[in-house]
Each structure stands twice: as structure tokens, then as C-alpha cells.
Amino acid sequence: MSEKKANFKKIIDLSIPDILSKINSISSYKWEDLSNEEIDLGNYNSVCSYFEVKDSDYPMNFALFFNKGDVIELTKSFIGYNFFVSGKISKSEELLIQELSNIILNSIVSQISNLAKKVIIPSGPKIIESEKEFIFDVISRQLTDNSNREIFHYIFKIKCREKNIYCEVISFISERAMNKLKVLL
């Protein structure tokens, strides 16, 4: 693992207790982070929450991917039922994914903010439904103006009742920001 990736992993590690504590306080299922093993989830039909941080020192973008097939279980874990049968995710499922990804992303951004001793406010999430690789490609193309972006990848594997649910966090962080964070970690 490169030094920069190790530094990103440190930020994630600092965020995990906060994320689990917040999610467990509102979910009827017990959530645990089991992310130690290497996992390659490949391509899949996803629901993606996309965030931007337009900060002059720490410009960053984050895409949080959930497997569309897990959305029913996720909804059940928060509101106790899911009666929707449509192939497309419903508005309430979309709002729930937004709030869940807000909790995860805000914990990560808060760690960066507290390390940098700087107020950093991310955008609200934009929900995109498509194959993961297609979304990743679109986001990467959109960021071509922002040169020197480094891509960091982390998979939260969360045991949700008997089912493992994954949340892939892909972040695009400028090299300058990573260098600043390296000094602070």
C-alpha cells in the first residue's frame, strides 16, 4: 500500500467509530465494520451518492456506491419494512440512501476538517442510478479540469443481520490536499 493510500486509510479508520455509532443509533440491525479483508466487488448495478467539496485548499469529490440489490435490506434496517417492488428505487429509498451516505461522508470530511483545523462543508448528495463503472467513468471525465487528482478507494463491509452489505467509497483528492494531510496525520 502506498504512503498516500495508507494515509487515506488512516482517515477512514478515524471515521469508522463515529459512523458505526451514528448508524447503529438509528438502525434496527446491528452494524459492524468487517472491512479488513481485500474485496473486489467488480461492476454492479449501483445507487451512487455523489458529493463535492469546493474548498480552495482541500478540493475533493466523493462517490459512495451501494449495490442496488441491497437497497431493500437497507430500507428494512432503518424503517422496518419495504413494500416497493419496482425495479427503480423509490423516492423514499433515495432519500434514505442520501441520509445514510451523508452520515458516512460527513464523518470522513469531519476528520479531514479537524486535522486541517479548517471548516470544510461538502455539498449535498446527488443520487445517480447506473452501473458502477459507468458512473465512475462519467465522474472521472468531469474532473479532467482538476489535474493531479488521486483516487482512493475503500470498501465498508457491514454485517446487516445475516447479510453483508457493501458501501464503496471512491474519493478524488488533489495531490496538494493529500500532501497537506500527510503532514497532519
Binding site: 432519500l95 460527513n106 471548516v119
Partner: protein, 116 residues
């Protein structure tokens, strides 16, 4: 108390509205963006403003600064999942009365409303 909420997520707005009414307060309005908030708050006169930090156009800190130019008396409760020390200090400096961490329960909302 008369309560107004600024929050971009309609599910959260609906849930909080239900909780506010269950707690015996009056829900007098809602907005989902900076622009809508400033337009509606120039007319509405809430006793309590529940304000989310992450909004689609500008952020809650900017809403707070703008709101305080026209209203110094309404109590403002910030609702956020961000845990930033610098942000909390700035929010309090700009006139926030309380910071309520998301996700929160109805008891925590009740307690925040009693504290301010």
C-alpha cells in the same frame, strides 16, 4: 413554540415536522434551499429555526449569517452530521443557539428545544 425548518431532505423535513407537532409545538413553515429560506424567513416570524448545514445552493452557515442580519431574536438550532470543531465555533459565533447532531431522536430534539 413556532418552528420553521430549513433542510434539503424532504424525508427529514417530514419526520421533524411530525416530531415538532407531537411535542406540542407549532410547525409554521419549511424551506429546502438558501434562496427559499431567505425568501420565506423574511415574512415568517418563527420562535425557533431548525437549520441544516448542507443545502443545495449555499450552506447553512451562510443562511445563518443572512438570517441574523434581519432577525436577532429567533433561536437557531443547527442540525448537522458534521462534527467539525472549527465549524461549531463559527456557528456559535454567528448566532446559533444550539447544535443538534444528526441522527437525533425525538427526545434529543425535545431536549434541544427546552435548552434554548
Amino acid at each position: 413554540m413556532k418552528v420553521f425548518i430549513v433542510e434539503d431532505n424532504s424525508l427529514t423535513r417530514f419526520t421533524v415536522k411530525t416530531a415538532i407537532e407531537k411535542l406540542g409545538h407549532e410547525f409554521i413553515g419549511e424551506a429546502e434551499s438558501f434562496k427559499e429560506a431567505i425568501d420565506k424567513l423574511s415574512v415568517a416570524n418563527p420562535e425557533v429555526l431548525l437549520l441544516d448545514i448542507i443545502l443545495p445552493d449555499k450552506n447553512g452557515l451562510e443562511v445563518l449569517k443572512e438570517f441574523r442580519k434581519m432577525n436577532k431574536t429567533t433561536k437557531v438550532i443547527i442540525i448537522t452530521a458534521l462534527e467539525e470543531e472549527g465549524l461549531n465555533q463559527e456557528l456559535l459565533k454567528e448566532g446559533a443557539n444550539h447544535i443538534l447532531k444528526k441522527p437525533f431522536s425525538i427526545d434529543e430534539l425535545d431536549s434541544a428545544l427546552k435548552k434554548i
